[in-house]
């Protein structure tokens, strides 16, 4: 596109030929009112609010859909433009209720704002106003469709971004009604963005309803920590409480969208289960105590069980994947300073000798530009919504996507192929792909591939990767406990190198990239989590661990931690019965948005945030608790004034290269394989306590899916429970596989 000159309101402006006028005025800071236009959605040109006067055009032209041409002279403020804008404003207001005082959008309403500039204070409309009946569209979005101005942003958002057209405009003319078709309401995992795009009070946040006016709140820039993306958000607070979360533009991370999980999890912050005071267990009874008493008690426990006997290797530290980079760092530093390498965050891995090691070497924004993707073991949409969105964009611009999964999932775009393969054949299938790639390249076939038969599927998958210029292989969460997990990762690495593909490792969750960055893994001579539990260590420091959700085998974990002679110091943000059972000291810590720290996303981007609110009652940010603990232990090097000094220290520490087993085992294993996964809204303690999220359909996913043949082998039917989870018999699951999506604790099964 050529650079051209146009004239706007008498000023010469440079722009690209064919750009829409509104993009130019926005860039130049020239205010043109609009309602239907949204930079991330297709152009609708239906509100007509952005009409401007273009010299030579007989009628006023909408800035949103007028491509500019060299020499064009535009007037955004002259009499003709103003007359059109005022006319449209009058039409928009005739049927819009003047209920601003009771409307949740009041104060942040685009209609209200524009009406201040273009509206008239007296209405000439004396007929009855339109009233629209509302429908209940679910737990997250409140509708007030009488206020709808039919801009169709929500409709376009659904069709274009969420990828499922849920809202639509039914009826016609004045009776057109924006509504969903199905009574079950809105199902999308990105639905809350409709609230952000709605220019008026037609779609507002249901949990936030009637709470506050926007101007009463402080908006604090923050990072959502529920997934591997770390979306930018604003936490809006009032009197020390997070009241609402909205998306913040961050083009390279989350563009302008956030997932519902990021938007609504804050509700959990005020849940009654919050741990509010330090407690110590004396003779089996819990007592609330002052911080100094609790810390003193903790120190004595450590002294008795570990230090007095000079048995530092009897101390272990475990953390959940939601901790901040700084928290991971401080806890591992304490352990290493006292002489223990027993450090781990990979609580959900069955066999850490078989752990996945695969780098991510593509940027999130880069995902949009791939021409092919092979996704292995992931229900991307619900697990990593914003990454799924990027890949969908790539798909819509022509990229093909192949999938290898143990079960068919809803992808909101058309897949090139969906291969439903039992988990114990995943490695063999990928081995086939690798062999096919090598054969096509006439490269040497390594010994371990000699017995592999290359199936048609493998050939097709291989060809697609070889033929693409910019392909990515995405490894998902379902593979973490595959008996050949490490081989699968190594095969992917090989295939990627051979086909010049990038890789994206989505097998971990939350802030696990930060855990790895801060070396929150066992060092030389240290034990991994499973080894620690098997060794019945004498003392632990646990950081926001909830055993029934976090451990691969929670029964064994709780049993081991509950040993009479094991002293457990637990830092938790929420109360938990199992934690209470095995712990000796409970230290209440801040949850999301109550502490400063950093999230490291899957592309390695470190995003720091400050606390939006204080932790409730006596709870303290974990980094401060850990620092004080270190001070009390008289450890050197913990003189931090704030968390950013910790961040700087982590970023300057040399990162130990993790050595991993590169061996590849491609034999097909027999038996039934269980993939156990937390439901999308049960991934972390905060989401689990967010009532509205839990009330959604996604929040209620709780099923052990298997096909008929597998059900027969396991002797269960549709009405039974398997491992405590309701059985769903479906042929969409691969044979000899049970796919469990559980929204409650695992009960130690897997």
């Amino acid at each position: 596109m050529a650079d051209i000159e146009i004239e706007i309101d008498g000023n010469v402006v440079n722009a690209k030929a064919g750009e829409m006028l509104i993009a130019v005025t926005d860039r130049e800071g020239i205010s043109v009112p609009r309602f239907c236009y949204h930079k991330k959605l297709s152009i609708a040109a239906n509100c007509r609010m952005c009409l401007v006067d273009v010299e030579g055009a007989p009628k006023p032209q909408p800035a949103c859909s007028t491509p500019i041409a060299d020499g064009m002279k535009i007037h955004t403020q002259n009499e003709k433009a103003k007359a059109s804008q005022k006319a449209v404003m009058e039409f928009l207001l005739i049927n819009h209720p003047l209920d601003c005082p009771i409307c949740d959008q009041g104060g942040e309403c685009e209609l209200q704002d524009v009406a201040m500039d273009y509206g008239s204070d007296v209405s000439r409309f004396t007929e009855g106003k339109r009233i629209v009946a509302d429908s209940d569209i679910g737990a997250l979005i409140q509708t007030d469709m009488t206020r709808c101005i039919h801009c169709t942003r929500c409709v376009r958002f659904g069709a274009e971004v969420a990828g499922i057209m849920e809202m639509g405009g039914t009826g016609r003319g004045e009776d057109m009604k924006i509504e969903p078709f199905l009574e079950e309401g809105i199902q999308s995992e990105l639905s809350g963005n409709m609230i952000d795009v709605c220019p008026v009070g037609a779609l507002t946040s249901k949990p936030f309803r009637y709470e506050l006016r926007s101007w009463q709140m402080n908006a604090v820039s923050n990072i959502a920590r529920h997934d591997l993306v770390g979306s930018s958000i604003y936490t809006q607070t009032y009197k020390g409480k997070v009241k609402r979360i909205v998306a913040k533009d961050n083009e390279s991370v989350n563009e302008t969208w956030i997932s519902d999980r990021d938007r609504f999890s804050y509700e959990g912050l005020s849940h009654e289960n919050r741990l509010l005071a330090p407690q110590i267990k004396v003779e089996g009874k819990w007592q609330e105590v002052e911080w100094n008493v609790a810390l003193d008690f903790a120190l004595r426990g450590l002294a008795n069980n570990v230090f007095n006997a000079r048995q530092a290797d009897q101390l272990g530290a475990l953390a959940s994947n939601t901790a901040t980079l700084e928290e991971f760092h401080l806890l591992q530093k304490i352990l290493r300073e006292v002489g223990s390498e027993n450090i781990d965050h990979r609580l959900n891995i069955k066999d850490l000798n078989n752990a996945i090691s695969l780098e991510s070497n593509i940027k999130l924004a880069g995902l949009e530009g791939v021409d092919h993707a092979l996704v292995i073991g992931s229900n991307l949409r619900l697990e990593q919504p914003m990454i799924s969105h990027r890949l969908r964009k790539a798909n819509l611009s022509g990229a093909s996507v192949d999938v290898i999964n143990a079960m068919a999932f809803d992808f909101n775009y058309r897949l090139n192929s969906e291969n439903i393969i039992p988990p114990h054949q995943t490695a063999a299938t990928l081995a086939g792909v690798l062999k096919s790639v090598l054969q096509s390249a006439q490269a040497e076939i390594p010994e371990y591939l000699s017995d592999i038969e290359v199936s048609d599927v493998a050939t097709q998958l291989a060809n697609k990767l070889s033929d693409s210029d910019n392909s990515v292989i995405v490894l998902g969460e379902h593979v973490i406990n595959n008996p050949q997990a490490s081989s699968i990762a190594n095969l992917i690495n090989e295939i990627a190198q051979q086909t010049n593909s990038t890789t994206l490792n989505l097998s971990a969750s939350g802030n696990s990239t930060a855990a790895n960055l801060s070396c929150f893994v066992p060092g030389k001579g240290g034990l991994d989590v499973n080894a620690m539990l098997a060794a019945d260590l004498k003392a632990y420091i646990l950081l926001d661990v909830y055993p029934q959700y976090d451990f691969h085998n929670s029964v064994q974990a709780v049993e081991s931690l509950s040993n009479d002679d094991t002293f457990v110091i637990s830092l938790n943000s929420f109360k938990d019965d199992a934690v209470a059972q095995y712990s000796n000291v409970l230290l209440p810590i801040a949850s999301f948005y109550e502490t400063s720290g950093s999230h490291v996303n899957v592309e390695g981007k470190v995003q720091s945030f400050s606390a939006a609110v204080n932790a409730p009652s006596d709870a303290k940010p974990a980094w401060k608790v850990l620092k004080v603990l270190a001070d009390l232990l008289e450890l050197p090097g913990f003189h931090y004034a704030d968390s950013t000094q910790v961040t700087t220290e982590v970023m300057h520490q040399s990162h130990k290269q993790h050595v991993h087993d590169e061996s590849i085992d491609v034999k097909v294993k027999r038996g039934i394989n269980i993939i156990w996964q937390k439901s999308p809204y049960a991934v972390d303690v905060l989401s689990r306590h967010a009532a509205s999220l839990q009330a959604t359909k996604i929040g209620q996913i709780n099923s052990a899916s298997m096909n008929k043949a597998t059900a027969k082998k396991l002797e269960v039917t549709q009405d039974d429970k398997y491992l405590g989870v309701p059985v769903v018999v479906s042929e969409s699951v691969a044979n000899n596989c049970v796919f469990v999506n559980s929204n409650h604790s695992t009960g130690g099964q897997s």
Partner: protein, 422 residues
């Protein structure tokens, strides 16, 4: 009279292939299949003929066809707009019923000129008799090897399908028609992009009215000049006028452009006994109403009608005698646009309802002195501010009725009853 689209009207089975061919039908198409006509020649003839779009907008057909990127390497479409629904218009229905092959041949020629190998005829959903006639004609044409692939061994292919609407006036707007043809609500698209670049299914598309297509074969058979000579300057050829309302013999007449209105009125049997002409809407309900005086001085061509203060539109001449209450008539028209507004863009969605409600209130005897100013203000705010022409179509009758017959509205507001009907 009845020289082109209606020339076989009085013959036996006028709709049959046999009758059509007996009148020289498909001779142009066969010439094309033999390679004896080039797209350029056809466009030149059409430009010479002065044929302008018969659907209402009056855009020169030859020029329109020349806009298509005929060499673009993608599927291109020709679409016929048989979604006739402008109140007062019923000419395309008769073309489809009595001369469907002229539409088929016209579309096929268009397909050849624009290198579009597929065509759709969008017929309004209520036109079942015309639809069946058209479908039968398609069968005949396919059977005779006039439609299909590599016709007569040539490289020319043309497949044609009939599509049915489902009841929405707005689908007569060409981009709404395309949306509808894609199985969506008939909501007009904003332009640019124009259908010639991004049309049906995202491909280059040209849409013409039924009568325009039906006129093409005869124009090419007899030469563009022949057609131009039938009409007057700037309005080539003959045109179908639907004369309805308060006349003795309402009917469709295919007459030369430039015919004096009074002659047309006479052809329709004149005004009913004992009545006098009061008003005329010359081009369908969307065009401004004219007083009897203005109408009687008018000639029936684009410029003639414009000079009189209205538009030729689709050639739908609605005659009103002195028994007509103009308040009632405008209210009915306002209701029509209110009912048919697609709801997409603000001024039309909100404004048409407002106009209707104010008029209805006047009819109910609750008019207010400033209602006329209000109506004028509202129509003026719709005018020119909408995506498609329906907004203007709703505004123009209001403006013209109030301008030409203001006293009737003032009377109704003041007395709460009709000046004409009491």
């Amino acid at each position: 009279m009845n020289e082109v689209c209606f020339k076989n009207l009085d013959q036996k089975d006028p709709w049959s292939l046999k009758t059509y061919e007996a009148n020289g039908g498909y001779s142009v198409w066969r010439k094309i299949l033999k390679g004896e006509l080039t797209p350029e020649q056809i466009i030149d003839e059409l430009k010479t003929s002065g044929l302008r779009g018969r659907g209402g907008a009056g855009f020169p057909t030859g020029l329109k066809w020349s806009f298509m990127p005929r060499n673009a390497d993608m599927q291109k479409y020709v679409v016929c707009n048989s979604d006739e629904g402008e109140p007062g218009t019923c000419k395309d229905r008769d073309i489809l019923r009595y001369n469907p092959h002229s539409v088929i041949e016209g579309m096929a020629i268009g397909g050849f000129v624009m290198n579009a190998t597929k065509g759709y005829n969008y017929i309004r959903g209520e036109f079942m008799e015309p639809f069946y006639r058209f479908e039968d004609a398609l069968k005949e044409a396919y059977a005779a090897g006039l439609l299909g692939e590599n016709l007569d061994g040539s490289s020319v292919s043309f497949d044609l399908y009939a599509h049915l609407g489902a009841g929405a006036y707005i689908c007569g707007e060409e981009t709404a028609l395309l949306e509808s043809l894609e199985g969506k609500k008939g909501q007009p698209r904003f332009k640019p992009p124009f259908p010639a670049n991004i049309g049906l299914f995202g491909m280059p598309t040209t849409i013409n009215n039924t009568e325009s297509f039906a006129s093409v074969p005869d124009i090419l058979a007899n030469g563009g000049q022949w057609f131009a000579d039938i009409g007057v300057e700037n309005s080539g050829g003959c045109k179908l006028f639907s004369v309805t309302g308060h006349v003795n013999e309402p009917a469709n007449f295919e007459v030369p452009m430039g015919l004096p209105f009074k002659d047309l009125l006479e052809m329709a049997g004149g005004i009913r006994e004992g009545r006098t002409l009061k008003a005329v809407i010359p081009g369908g309900s969307s065009t401004p109403v004219l007083t009897a005086e203005a109408a009687m001085a008018m000639t029936m061509d684009y410029d003639g009608i414009e000079k009189a203060g209205s538009m030729l539109g689709a050639g739908s001449v609605i005659i009103m005698d002195d028994s007509t209450c103009m308040v009632e008539t405008l209210t009915r028209l306002a209701h029509f646009y209110y009912d048919e507004s697609c709801g997409q863009c603000t001024p039309c969605r909100e404004g048409t309802g407002w106009l209707y409600r104010v008029l209805k209130r006047i009819m109910d005897g609750n008019g207010k002195a400033d209602d006329i100013d209000l109506l004028m203000g509202v129509q003026d705010k719709i005018m020119g501010n909408t995506i498609c022409a329906l907004g203007d179509a709703a505004a123009m009758p209001v403006e013209s009725f109030l301008r030409c017959f203001r006293e009737e509205f003032e009377y109704y507001i003041e007395h709460g009853k009709s000046m004409v009907k009491g």
